[in-house]
């Protein structure tokens, strides 16, 4: 226990050191004037604090979070539901697996302009951009989770007179839960990409607006602060989900 705590402390130390090195290099490169568009780390942090203080960051995230949350919620309900259905029904599987295999491999960002063409420049298009990027991995993970159920456990459930519903509810779904959750985590990461693309490509709103506006008026520290902030938020959110996942589904309690 003491040992593992010390190892944990060591890890935090190396992590902080690695960040410190990266930021020091950034600061040096900025001071050296590599490019007029590349501000030092310290200027970026100051810009970040200014934007946090005057409320422009908060306002931006209020607007950015809307398509992200709506889109992710749609994926969470419809995407997981459809993936589970694909795993349970041979017909649905046969009809849709090839489509989702292609969708998962395709650079879906390319579809965003098409979405704009059909649905205009409003919230709908931005929600769709999130859905288009996040859905494939969520659907496929749910599907695989269901299909990978240990067949011996299903046989056991039938041998003890479990009905089909009981097999699904008491064996297949708990067995797939860990993989479905992992799919949601990966889907959220894709959702962040989707919302940023939408806000840069469709119409500048929220964080996308901050990035485009400050780059157009050459406020590079502000622009870098905006970019850095979305990276930070995405990384922290995904990492928190990963920790939650490990707590909810410890590896040893997963079925194989």
């Amino acid at each position: 226990m003491a040992n593992s705590r010390r190892a944990g402390g060591d890890r935090v130390f190396w992590l902080l050191l690695s960040f410190a090195c990266a930021f020091a290099l950034w600061e040096a490169a900025g001071r050296f004037r590599l490019s007029a568009a590349f501000p030092p780390f310290s200027d970026t942090v100051m810009a970040f604090l200014r934007m946090a203080a005057d409320g422009s960051l908060a306002k931006a995230y209020l607007s950015t979070s809307q398509p992200l949350i709506i889109g992710f919620a749609i994926c969470g309900v419809v995407g997981v539901g459809f993936g589970v259905w694909m795993g349970l029904s041979r017909t649905v599987e046969w009809l849709s697996v090839p489509v989702f295999v292609i969708l998962q491999a395709a650079p879906m960002a390319a579809v965003v302009p098409l979405v704009t063409y059909i649905y205009g420049i409003g919230l709908t298009s931005k929600v769709l951009a999130v859905v288009v990027l996040a859905a494939p991995v969520i659907v496929m993970n749910s599907y695989k989770g269901i299909r990978n159920t240990n067949s011996s456990l299903i046989q056991m459930c039938r041998a003890f007179l479990g009905t089909r519903t009981q097999v699904v509810v008491k064996i297949i779904l708990p067995h797939a839960a860990a993989m479905i959750f992992a799919g949601l985590r990966l889907g959220l990461a894709m959702g962040f990409i989707g919302v940023v693309i939408a806000e840069l490509l469709i119409t500048p709103t929220g964080i996308g607006d901050l990035i485009t506006y400050h780059s157009s008026v050459a406020d590079f520290p502000e622009m870098f602060a905006a970019v850095g902030s979305i990276i930070l938020i995405a990384a922290v959110t995904i990492h928190a989900l990963e920790r939650l996942e490990r707590r909810l589904f410890p590896p040893e309690s997963r079925g194989s």
Binding site: L153, Q155, M156, A159, F160, G162, P174, E252, S253
Partner: protein, 249 residues
Amino acid sequence: MELTGIGKTYATGVEALRDVTHAFPAGKLSTLLGPSGCGKTTLLKIIGGLIPATAGEVRVKGKRVDGPGAERAFVFQDFALLPWATVLRNVAFGLELRGVPGEERLEIARKFIGEVGLAGFEASYPHQLSGGMRQRVGLARALAVDADIILMDEPFSSVDEQTRRKFQEDLLDLLRHRRKTVIFVTHSIEEAAYLSDQIVLLSARPGTVSQIIQPNVNRGSKSPDEIRRDKNYLDAVDDIWHVLKRYLG
């Protein structure tokens, strides 16, 4: 418990079983033994109603059965325990599926956990137990549903030799007063001779009943070690070997 003309041909054209006819005596332990690949496990799963036969029928107490039933309970080779559930819930799982109310089924489960020697492990998870202990959970789950017939598919094959001996002795102890009909699949000659009232020897694929051997070991008054030196036990081991030898090589 009767089998009439059971046959099984897989969709791939492989014929696993042909015309298996046999009546298992009630209240006795019968072993299915045969060369590897002879369809022992397939036959047991057909009896359990887990896979359909392509010919013949299974009758339990005179009634034809096509699927799993409350009068048969299964013990699996790979234990088939829920990895996310405690020992207590795993043992109670058969009752849970039958809709037995919570407190009642947990009480029954606790009783059987004690009987298989796992008292104190109710809150443990399967991954915290050894192979032998996991199979005790599997056995307790089968006993808890109070079926007359217990089907055991190579239950000790993933358990190490020393644990297995102890487990065999405990199994005989548990079954002694219960009058359960047990059908036990194994590939171990010694295990069959040690445990069985009756041994059904199957031929090589396609499997069919080759010979019935009754070890006639008088277990009642003897200790496990005395049984392993008993003349009838040793004769049975010899007889089985002479039959099985024909199917090897």
